[in-house]
Symmetry: C2
Amino acid sequence: MPYQLHYWPGIPGRGEFVRLALEAAGADYVDVARGEGGVAAMQRFMTDPALARPPFACPFLVDGKRVIGQTAAILLYLGPRLQLVPASEADRLWVHQIQLTLADLVTEVHDLHHPIGSGLYYEDQKPEALRRAGDFRANRLPKFLNWCEAVLARNRGNGEREVPRMVGGRLTYADLSLFQVVDGLLYALPKAMKRVLRKTPLVAALHAGVPRQRRLAAYLASERRLPFNEQGIFRRYPELDG
Amino acid sequence: MPYQLHYWPGIPGRGEFVRLALEAAGADYVDVARGEGGVAAMQRFMTDPALARPPFACPFLVDGKRVIGQTAAILLYLGPRLQLVPASEADRLWVHQIQLTLADLVTEVHDLHHPIGSGLYYEDQKPEALRRAGDFRANRLPKFLNWCEAVLARNRGNGEREVPRMVGGRLTYADLSLFQVVDGLLYALPKAMKRVLRKTPLVAALHAGVPRQRRLAAYLASERRLPFNEQGIFRRYPELDG
């Protein structure tokens, strides 16, 4: 039975981290809310009072009787099944720790344009967004990317490889997620991001190299890959860049 | 060898979620930055360029050669070792999913007083904090607590027990973490929180019942339990409550 991924159909958002893992592994899956039933099918599932373990929000994954919410928990579940993690418990936990740190960064990127409330429009929190974005560009963005650079530099599995890996010598979901975060930030804050990437060459090399994997290349060129836009997490508002 | 917990010594913060698990299980641990070496010992460890897998931030746990950052990842690691999770993979992932959802709530509680930047003082982002807190009290706080209430109501392991559990019939780290979040919110936003708890009686019962566990009761009465204060995540600024 194919995996069911449930997520908003119009944005890459957090669902894309799961989609990249499924696509990179060539897994059989259905993108439920992008199908005939649309968002209604997803919401019917989530709000069913008979659901013993309801997810707080999407994305969530359905695998037979299993329903799993929280992007990082979904990837923890899929990692071994899709062969996107190393074999040892220690390495798997380290991949997960990296994912959780990237998830923190994604939350901060969301709050760039929603510093006051996720239920309000950007236009209704623009002065606050301008202030928050300044702090993010000056402090948080370099801090997160410098940490990723250190992780790549200290990964003994990399040796002399052209495309570095976050953990060990093979592709993991941590690589896919870092690719996606960098890709989103290059869309949202191109000026700030290019400046940071000049100082984090291993992160830049990972971002350039990950899409060359055969299945990912096909996916990224397909219509299944949703473009970034101003309804998602990574939004291009030029006034927040600089 | 005792576990080493590394966290800021003056606040409960995110370290307290780990501490509660260690204390509830009666585990042997050292609270490094509260010892002789202080914060300097923690920072020396974190910033050591020889550390192959550096945590992005504290808390982090050292267990022999293992160094684990991210609160939820630490609890994922400790859960089976401290017997604070059920036996099955599905149940363990559900406990983790709950932890990740509570972690999202904790981030939002932090951003109540730091909506613009974590490096700035509260006093320098007070108008933004007032706006964000209004949205949080009206929308986010009830949404998170209602979800916790549904999780408790749908847990078939509860039967007729007086103190409900989040997962199955025995204490897990999800129970400890929900206790801590409710405790912190009752400190930070007593008015708003009491209003929400009247509509989430199972959450209230869990919060009242968890501290009766023998080891936790001893811990909570000890000097090891740090009080909430205005340097931490859960801060009492009356202007943010209502």
